[in-house]
Symmetry: C2
């Protein structure tokens, strides 16, 4: 065989899911586990993937080559809901959603009008993502355009595929943190023109949530979405019962919380709604009918006492779902720790969340929720080469447990129960190792 | 001032709670926070504690001395419920309590009839406790006397105060894992004579839980307790709804689950019941009346989907409570991670768990639950010198958050939300540093 053009090759133990599925039971048959595999990377993409035995002759002698014989390589984690200006406020005590916003979040986000400050935290935030094996995220910035510039600039340095947007918020927040319907439209539009599709960056129209936008602002958000249909919509939905009651009081003319967004044209294939803990049946149907997606954020739902997300219902109702850390209401940047708590949230409801289903939500399922499953989420040919090398034995306790693991699914489940950032050995973005532990 | 006899002195920032309380609101006034403090240690005990300013002249020049200017020193963590033979099985997938026991636990515990194996895991277990800042624990061994010997021998090497006992189990388990009413009595009695009060070791009569003991065995357990009233009783209670229904079917003549133990004389000042997630009102009253204690095990209750423990009720009903990791159904040896989830369990019930109350449960309150608050739990004069030096900034994210902390309570809460074993810098047992990170 003649050698393939490759800028880099990686050999090791690979695990991914070959295609998206419509039922949880279809995940296990779609698992692809190669104990001694090889991946070739070219121009940021996967140019070949298979067993070492089949692939070794494709390698030319001068291709940069890494071998991870005792590690596990999986697609990069995808975080479908996170707030970059809240990086510094994880662990804010004692409140549920609405009081937490007023007491902690708004004062913190005020700092992001300062571009230098936003730059500093954006750099830190991107490093935290990489250190935790998160290669793509859908990100809330603050209301300030500076925060969006800061984040996209930081992402661009790493060639990361991030989706982000400026918060739109014109009421029920401190004056200094409010824009107007008009200014939010123009600022968002300018940011879309500047960033959407530039390199790997993508833009999301980002009204914080219905209570902090006037009908006029939501109408403007819908207008933007109509003008730029391939731009994302990213907001919050049905996280907390007091929040839901408030939305119903603010928008009595709509049928419910989701109907507010739907009315203004904000549902759809590239719309992601964080939380959805307390959706009503008609709302599940609307999510399905509009191909909208949910970001399930277990550590946040527990930390704020929001409730237990019924993950099983996403399969029953055929609604796309991804996993979100929701920093800073969430308590960890790490998707392994997020999956630990996702499992517990399901256990409390009498449902089982398998390791393979967990992997699906954290990788290919998340990519599908972001309408990026043609580009991300597994090792299929032509996909963008974002993946992570996991050390399954990062602590002595993990090593003891892993020595007793009964196969790859058990090993993966143990990792998801005990893992944290220490298990991320190397993070590859667009074909390059951009983070290496120690 | 003349110098005091001291084998060691430690200077740093100290935080503890000065006395036990009967209401959560009394904890904050009992907090003792010394920014620049000094502790003198002699013969395993605290011989002096106060500010550096007042204490520095008591030090003689040749006293070994450590200074931790940028750390936080708190009493050692107390784990009121943990299974040492389950160290290797954290993260066993997919079951709730009863199936989990049969599928995973019993096969794992079978290995502990081999003394060499038990020794190996006992050494590992004790190291895990120390690495996680746990200085005292109430521990389930396996049914084998070898497991008890192994654990006490390992604890003795470190001079740790551990309470442990042999499982009593004579039905509803694999034959190889069952003793008999008679043999369990004699074996436990011999272990009590051998270990209880030897060095810092204390013994606990340990029927696994009502369903795996015949009435005859429970009667024998009660007989032992009557013969050795200062020995502990350690078992499980009301963890899972199917378990409760099973107990009611097995013991129709008793008024409820707790009444089974009460009937056989197993409640009392040194009786600790793990879980108590679903206690009935009469059971709360019996716990109070008998001065029995609860071990609250949040990571385990979530992992097995057992339910949400109503911590607030322990104050209302005046029932003693400590914190338990419940390894291997729990998911971490670490009390900081356990407190992270304790907070979430309370948030889901609309209750707030403050950082100071959390510290209380993990230290002095745990000591009280174990009837050891005269010996452990804070820095009072004459107490045994078990304490830990915490690094509040063990990760970059923690450092960012701690730089913004608004005082010690906020700093402590951030630690409890984001912390893990990396935050344990040094663990002192009986006056000596027995674990130092790296």
């Amino acid at each position: 065989m003649s050698s393939l053009q490759a800028q880099r090759a990686v050999r090791g133990r690979f695990l991914d899911i070959q295609h998206t599925v419509s039922q949880a039971s279809d995940i296990a048959p779609a698992i692809r586990y190669i104990e001694d595999g090889l991946i070739l990377l070219n121009a940021g993409k996967i140019s070949w993937f298979g067993t070492w035995e089949k692939g070794k002759d494709l390698l030319s002698a001068d291709t940069p080559f890494e071998h991870y014989p005792d590690k596990l390589i999986v697609p990069g984690f995808i975080d479908t809901h996170i707030h970059f200006p809240q990086t510094e406020m994880v662990g804010a005590y004692g409140e549920q959603l609405l009081e937490w916003l007023n007491s902690y979040t708004f004062p913190t986000e005020l700092q992001f009008k300062d571009k230098a400050y936003a730059d500093k935290i954006a750099q830190f935030f991107v490093q935290q993502l990489l250190k935790n094996g998160t290669t793509t995220a859908l990100v809330f910035c603050s209301v300030h355009t500076e925060s969006v510039d800061a984040l996209f600039e930081a992402a661009e340095q790493q060639q990361m595929r991030l989706i982000a947007g400026k918060v739109m918020m014109d009421r029920h927040a401190p004056d200094e943190l409010c824009d107007t319907a008009e200014s939010s439209y123009h600022d968002s539009k300018a940011l879309i023109e500047k960033w959407h599709g530039k390199g790997r960056n993508l833009y999301a129209i980002t009204p914080r949530f219905a209570p902090t936008s006037t009908p006029e602002q939501l109408q403007k958000a819908g207008q933007l979405k109509a003008e730029y249909p391939d731009v994302y919509v990213h907001t919050h939905l049905s996280e907390n019962k007091n929040e839901i009651a408030w939305v119903k009081a603010l928008f009595p003319e709509q049928k419910g919380y989701l109907d507010v967004y739907h009315h203004y044209g904000l549902t759809g294939e590239r719309s992601v709604f964080a939380h959805c803990v307390h959706l009503e049946d008609a709302e599940w149907d609307c999510m399905h009918a509009t191909h909208s997606a949910i970001a399930f954020c277990p550590t946040s739902n527990l930390f704020l006492g929001s409730g237990l997300f019924p993950l099983k219902k996403t399969w029953e109702k055929q609604v796309k779902v991804g996993l979100g850390t929701d920093i800073g209401a969430g308590t960890s940047f790490n998707q392994l720790q997020t999956l630990n708590e996702a499992y517990k949230v399901q256990q409390l409801q009498g449902d089982k969340l398998s390791a393979f289903e967990s992997l699906y939500h954290a990788t290919l399922g998340g990519a599908k929720a972001l309408d990026l499953d043609d580009k991300l989420g597994n090792f299929n040919l032509g996909k963008e080469a974002d993946f992570i090398v996991l050390d399954l034995k990062a602590t002595a306790l993990q090593a003891l447990r892993q020595e007793r693991a009964k196969g790859i699914e058990d090993a993966l489940f143990a990792l998801m129960t005990m893992g944290d950032d220490r298990n991320i050995h190397t993070t590859y973005i667009y074909g390059d190792p951009v983070y290496v532990k120690y």
